[in-house]
Symmetry: C2
Subunit: 325 residues, 2 copies
């Protein structure tokens, strides 16, 4: 039985990935310091004899024999990652160093989850993997953006210098059950507001667009990516003139924030909620849209879950944990 | 007597800084792993009772009570930093983490030496401190560029979150005695070639421009910067709308590579050397030119040593260590 380690395994995406890896017949270890992750997210898995949970902070070295290491540990929403920026940076950078060292020692394959934030405030649309990004190295979002960029550099160099089989995915806006209700993002904000009978806050005129990837689509992409033989991955990226395997994963379909609000209100009729407008905050997340041509070509993958369907499942989850509805 | 720690103190710039700090009445500890630094660089200082040398790698935590920490440790020329990219990254990032932790514990003031490489392949000329740069996160130069960017982020966040008094300087092309003869840079290449009676290699048509800062100018700038009271530094950058103290240090005067070659040949007559042309290499360093308005305004500083004078001293040094001439 192949053994997988998932750092950040009790987080939003990590817990979905753990469940899927068990479904696929893996023995799975979830590692988490439970800073933003939660034992609740993995409760349904604890009864499975092939699953184990390790309370550990990835900034401290760790050990173990795994065939695959999925490196997901890092606070990912601004409200969390800005609450302790130095800790966020350390998690990103030292976590990557520790995962890569373990992989090097044990010859494990590594999936590193990077982020669309490495593109910063992009000057090109949509963003392809060879775009270098536009990031402030010393701003208030830098702890996340630069931490993730530096983790990518460690991964790329560990591959070049030591031959570590590391694959990177830059994750765009992703939503779904087990999202943190207070992560400050638009999907969770809207659903939480609607469930409380509050009006949904639209910033600016609500016409700014966002793309939303349902978490199952992302997990499917990651699984296909990690199942490919190394030669296939190496050959593919070499043919593209890229020395490092990096793929975007996101949903290129764009919706306005206003459309999202309408969809949430449609799914939660009878809450009495409407919409209110508020001024655009200074650090409003910038529009980003993934170019997923490479992932399509290499993996035959593209997002399959429509927004209405994914939102319905997410609303259901929020309803169940809020005790409302 | 104020106590200063200089990491990378046996390196090119570090050894000059140590000498200057002693001149200024400091007690100085030079820390170096001697990977690219050399005991020879600090030999003249070893007789001074206020000077000490510690053989230590900054990637491992260190201790001590200092008033000032100058963080210079990192291989800085492509030929060195690309020889072991993962080690370069670790030096940049972990060295910064360790320096900042010590500063936080002991309330020391920190000078962090960053680099013009954080601007990457710049899309604006000249580069001011608020330019975010254009850097490939996963390329062969990334270990240096991204390592230095990430170190800046750690510094900026440690200042914001823990109040560490850290000041950053982005150093542009700098030359002078004690440069590494094999660092692959144009100044050392030309002098080494001329001293060996070889022709000086001009890449491309030799009309590309470079700016060259003499090391004494840089050291003067660093000393002025670190002597300012914290309130003055904070107030100045706040008035510029910058949350983080970052200053460029470089010489904005530009010379063509051909002019540099002519100057070297003028200083070394009778070597029989001429010039030869070779194709431009793929990773030829990009043109960068510092905007030093901020340093001028805050420190009343600008480079004072003309190229001819600085080059003469550098040639003298190379001649003395080569045993030629």
């Amino acid at each position: 039985m192949r053994k997988a380690l998932v750092t950040g395994g009790a987080g939003f995406i990590g817990s979905h990935l753990c469940a899927r890896l068990l479904d696929d017949g893996r023995e799975v270890t979830a590692m988490d310091n439970l800073f933003t992750g939660s034992k609740k997210n993995i409760e349904p898995l604890l009864g499975d004899g092939r699953f184990s949970f390790v309370l550990h902070d990835v900034t401290e070295p760790f050990d173990g024999e795994f065939d695959e290491i999925y490196n997901l540990a890092c606070p990912a929403s601004p409200v969390h990652y800005q609450s302790n920026p130095v800790k966020t940076l350390r998690t990103s950078v030292l976590g990557m160093i520790n995962a890569l060292e373990l992989a090097r020692r044990t010859n494990a394959r590594v999936l590193h989850t990077s982020t669309s934030e490495v593109y910063g405030d992009p000057l090109v649309h949509p963003q392809a993997e060879n775009y270098w990004g536009n990031v402030n190295p010393v701003g208030v979002r830098s702890c996340y953006d630069e931490g993730k960029r530096c983790a990518e550099t460690f991964a790329a160099d560990s591959r070049r210098e030591y031959g570590v089989d590391v694959r990177m995915v830059r994750i765009f806006n992703t939503y779904g059950p087990k999202m943190h209700p207070n992560d400050g993002r638009v999907v969770s904000n809207f659903i939480t507001q609607a469930l409380s009978g509050e009006n949904l806050t639209l910033f600016g005129d609500g016409r700014q667009t966002r793309s939303f990837q349902y978490v199952d689509d992302l997990v499917e992409m990651i699984r296909r990516y990690m199942d490919l033989p190394r030669e296939r991955v190496d050959g593919f990226f070499a043919s593209k003139g890229m020395g490092t395997p990096v793929l975007n994963a996101g949903n290129p379909e764009e919706f306005t924030v206003r459309e999202l609000a309408e969809e949430v209100l449609r799914l939660l009729p009878g809450t009495g909620s409407g919409t209110v407008f508020a001024p655009l905050p200074a650090d409003d997340p910038k529009r980003r849209k993934p170019d997923i041509s490479l992932a399509k070509e290499l993996l035959g993958w593209q997002p399959a879950v429509p927004l209405a369907e994914g939102l319905a499942k997410t609303v259901e989850y929020f309803r169940s944990v809020s005790g409302r509805g």
